[in-house]
């Protein structure tokens, strides 16, 4: 079934679009027939109503209405949630951890062998890069760095707050 949903997402609007859901933030959010608030209202949403998201167009999200029509909602009236799969991402994280080279972990080298390439022109010596020993410690530190879900939603709130302030400043 998941594959069918994915396939459905691919043909939405005849182009590959984001796999996401928009959720109405209040009662009475209007779904317009085009990305323009003077266009016809084709559906009104209640708080918590969810629709499949398409693409951004101006200050609107393209959506698929409950009756299957393409419509547009103001981006500030909805919350967008990408259709994630935390189980798969967690499995990827675990698989990467299991596959780490023990010899590299035991190697004891904790800093880069070359301490920075200075100057803007770095084209001259790039050919040697493929033959250098990889600094896996630095890579493992990248892998161990987690961005937690609450951190992501906080980032989203900061971004949307700035947009809302800009829009209200224009009114």
């Amino acid at each position: 079934m998941k594959e069918l949903i994915l396939f459905g997402g691919m043909i939405f609007g005849s182009q590959l679009l984001m796999a996401a859901t928009v959720e109405s933030q209040k009662d009475g959010v209007e779904v317009y027939s085009s990305a323009d608030k003077s266009s016809a209202v084709i559906q009104k949403l209640k708080k918590g109503d969810k629709l499949s998201a398409g693409e951004r167009k101006g200050m609107y999200w393209q959506v698929k209405t409950s009756s299957g029509k393409d419509g547009f909602v103001n981006m500030l009236a909805v919350k967008v949630k990408p259709d994630e799969n935390p189980g798969l991402v967690d499995a990827m994280r675990e698989a990467a951890k299991k596959g780490r080279s023990q010899s590299a972990a035991d190697g004891g080298r904790t800093r880069s062998a070359v301490m920075g390439v200075r100057g803007l022109d770095d084209t001259g010596e790039v050919g040697v890069a493929a033959n250098l020993r990889p600094n896996l410690h630095a890579v493992y530190r990248m892998e161990d760095f987690n961005t937690f879900p609450d951190g992501l939603s906080r980032q989203g709130e900061l971004v949307m707050k700035e947009v809302e302030e800009k829009v209200s400043g224009l009114k």
Binding site: K2, E3, L4, L17, A19, A20, A35, E55, R56, G58, M59, V80, P82, D83, E84, N85, G87, L88, V89, A91, M92, A96, G99, S101, S103, S112, A113, V114, M115, G116, V117, L120, D121, D122, T123, E125, V126, G127, V128, A129, A130, N131, L132, R133, P134, N135, L136, A138, V139, M142, E143, F145, G151, L152, Q155, V159, M160, E162, V163, V167
Partner: protein
């Protein structure tokens, strides 16, 4: 054959996997019972991507050095992960690191390893520009541009790239890094390598693939169309995430001016299409998404706070 099974098969075919790898997939399927077949396939291929990407990212760290600023790293990971979730592949894993180089560039390695140079962070004016740059790299990862480019190599291309690499001599300053990695002879290593069968049918080892990948990253570059696609996608992801739509265009415009003024040439000039061509492609996607009507976040204060240490350390690029 039912619908989902057919689609799974189609997915397999599109990945160009060899018959040999399917037995490994089957064996591994029992390891993650919570995953569907298609998810298991993604996970199995991810293991191969990780091995190659890890080696490539590690070599970039060795070559350029790592810029260690935990606060800035945390910020980059926060912005990068956020914008990548608005991409077409939110189910992928994205990890971000900083290279200690003045050069303005960013790299995407298979498996989700995304590295930006200190030069990028010094040159950017705000968070929206960083978001679009990271979005560009996230698109390379999500669409497996590098991994697929390696698998598309012909036997002759592989042989030529290896001969070129073997002919290179290391300058003395790299002597501390002269130890070459040992080959991966583990059972998992050989199983993973089966995912790296090229178009010509030749098998690529993990280290071999990583070395060839470095050649693409630093010398030859990916196909121009893939770079244009990453530009379009990066802008798209940043817009979806709520950022100022014209951020990447402004960054490139400023970069072109700086390059013209300083007459400098960097890896990015060799591996990417020209900035004017990239800006044309960006203009098209901006027009399609109604960018003139979009009010987006810029995040200048957040960005300045995050890079305060970098600026204070006196490393900011002279403009």
């Amino acid at each position: 054959m039912d619908g989902p099974s057919f689609l799974t098969s189609a997915l397999l075919a599109s990945f160009g996997l060899t018959v040999a790898c399917s037995s490994w997939t089957k064996k591994e399927a029992t390891d993650e019972p919570s995953l569907s077949k298609s998810e298991q396939l993604i996970l199995d291929e991810y293991k191969a991507e990780v091995e190659v990407g890890r080696n490539m990212a590690g070599r970039l760290f060795t070559f350029y050095g790592e810029y260690e600023d935990e606060g800035l790293k945390s910020y980059i990971n926060g912005v990068g992960d956020y914008v990548a979730r608005y991409g077409d592949y939110p189910d992928r894993r994205y990890m971000f690191g900083i290279l200690d180089s003045d050069s303005v560039n960013a790299f995407a390695c298979p498996g989700g390893y995304i590295l930006v140079t200190r030069g990028v962070l010094e040159s950017a004016a705000n968070e929206a520009e960083i978001a679009a740059i990271l979005g560009h790299e996230a698109a390379h990862v999500g669409k497996k541009h590098m991994f697929n480019a390696l698998r598309a190599m012909s036997k002759d291309q592989v042989a030529q790239a290896e001969a070129e690499a073997a002919a290179r001599k290391r300058p003395d300053k790299y002597s501390r890094a002269r130890l070459r990695p040992v080959g991966d002879n583990s059972e998992s290593g050989s199983a993973i390598a089966k995912f790296l069968t090229t178009a010509s049918g030749a098998g690529l080892g993990i280290l071999q693939a990583a070395k060839l990948g470095m050649g693409l990253l630093l010398e030859k570059g990916l196909d121009k169309d893939l770079e244009f696609e990453a530009d379009r996608e990066g802008v798209k992801y940043a817009i979806r995430a709520g950022y100022d739509p014209k951020a990447l265009d402004r960054f490139l415009e400023r970069l072109a001016e700086t390059k013209k003024k300083n007459n400098d040439k960097t890896v990015m000039d060799v591996t990417h299409p020209s900035i004017p061509d990239r800006r044309k492609v960006i203009a098209e996607i901006l027009n399609r998404m109604g960018a003139d009507q979009i009010i987006g976040a810029v995040g200048k204060d957040r960005f300045e706070t995050a890079r305060a240490k970098l600026v204070a350390s006196g490393k900011e690029t002279k403009k």
